[in-house]
Symmetry: C2
Subunit: 309 residues, 2 copies
Amino acid sequence: MIDKLCKKIKKLQAPIVVGLDPMLDYIPPHLIEKSFNEYGETLLGASEAVWQYNKQIVDAIYDLIPAVKPQIAMYEQLGIEGLKVYKRTVDYCKEKDLTVIGDVKRGDIGSTSAAYATAHLGRITVGSKEYSLFDEDFATVNPYLGSDGIKPFIDVCKKEGKGLFILVKTSNPSSGEFQDQEIDGKPLYELVGEKVAQWGEEHMGENYSYIGAVVGATYPQMGKVLRNIMPKSFILVPGYGAQGGKGADLVHYFNKDGLGAIVNSSRGIIAAYKQDKYVKFGAENFADASREAVKDMIKDIDNALKTAL
Amino acid sequence: MIDKLCKKIKKLQAPIVVGLDPMLDYIPPHLIEKSFNEYGETLLGASEAVWQYNKQIVDAIYDLIPAVKPQIAMYEQLGIEGLKVYKRTVDYCKEKDLTVIGDVKRGDIGSTSAAYATAHLGRITVGSKEYSLFDEDFATVNPYLGSDGIKPFIDVCKKEGKGLFILVKTSNPSSGEFQDQEIDGKPLYELVGEKVAQWGEEHMGENYSYIGAVVGATYPQMGKVLRNIMPKSFILVPGYGAQGGKGADLVHYFNKDGLGAIVNSSRGIIAAYKQDKYVKFGAENFADASREAVKDMIKDIDNALKTAL
């Protein structure tokens, strides 16, 4: 899976991933109205609008990008109907040959972490049968509980040829409250990064490990340090665009081979039609606006990498 | 909700919570067989067996205990059908007047944390209607992302009169990898504990805060320190029984009023019929074994508290 991701990034010259984080107020009014007419002002109605929104965006951009990152919280907040649409989105994106990173940020210990790993990356045995569940290709995982929380995920990843992105340094303003605290002169995120590099050795692809890291675009100096600490780990980089990160800030998240990082944009792509820059498309053509925004993002990062590497 | 929990703990003299973490291999064969006959060896069949198992246990113990803590991972690993049973379990326990702590260990930032908070503790607006989703009374939350991750949960808790238990020091062997690291001579878990105490001031009940902490039974010395750091925070204590914690180890998690902590046992109660001590009940009467195990746990903790306080 990590090798497939590397190949696709190279082929498309697009180290990017689009976050499918459908907040209800991103969805154009005509989709909401149509869905409410059909299913009522219900959780089903809202979830169907999310599905139509996702599907049209994916249809418009799937040939330009290697991967998507659905944020499960946006579906979980619509309960069971929302989670059905999460699963439908994962399946549809895989049909379109997109790598799916489930942004689930799960994390627990022992058999509970194993259950989460089964839910998102593995299969469960029921009597004499076996079933896969949400079945993403990668999942994001929280490291606060230490190795006991991560190892059960790695075991499932090894069995299934899947991977992880472990939170190291997150993109939000308060991420430093705990992550930047110094331990023997070294911030916690470096310690977590060292662990990610160690864990990564257990499950290597051709050039990169299946066990990657999350490092926010908003902390480029820390990204540079972490790139060196985890040379074989792919870095998933949130915080581009809406959160303030620019292509030029991100060059140090990459290795000299032009790989090693994949930059996420969510709102900046899926709600592009709301930005001044793309408002000309109109809400009806929101998916075309998303396509244009994807092209611009690829160009921005490509230019930055060409200048730097 | 925290005041209700305090009252019920006092009334029942039972500062305990039963973890509804139904691993498939805990479920007695007769329940599995019946469910497979009816629904096949399917995710629905497995989920229905989980539901019957939960229901019979809850029916047998609800009058003895103030609270339950369903572990969502065990349901999530059965996909959509499993999550329906999670919701059914939450609703059923609330009907039985039990406080429900959703052990979901969610954690993200900003609007994403808000979405998780909505999913588990809040309500979502769909057109002109409002819906509650999983609707637990409390949720467990991971602090690694700092205040940006916690505040959106607290906002929803304030609005809904609900609460949180934030991971501080977890019960697993490797929890020290990051949580015990010293920052200016103080371990990270103390720093997180101080933050929990601060966050807790924002949402106080009568004597205790709605914002509590998770501190494992397996680290009693740290529990004692954390009790002092967070005098107004309820401590949810996992790790009793199967993980090795005993009543006598836990007295320092409590305040002098006999409150301030709630001790969880999962496997030790719900799979009691598998222990030598309760094997006489037989698998058919697994729920009676659970009731006996609850009584023994209450006695163990009550004796320890009487001796110590």
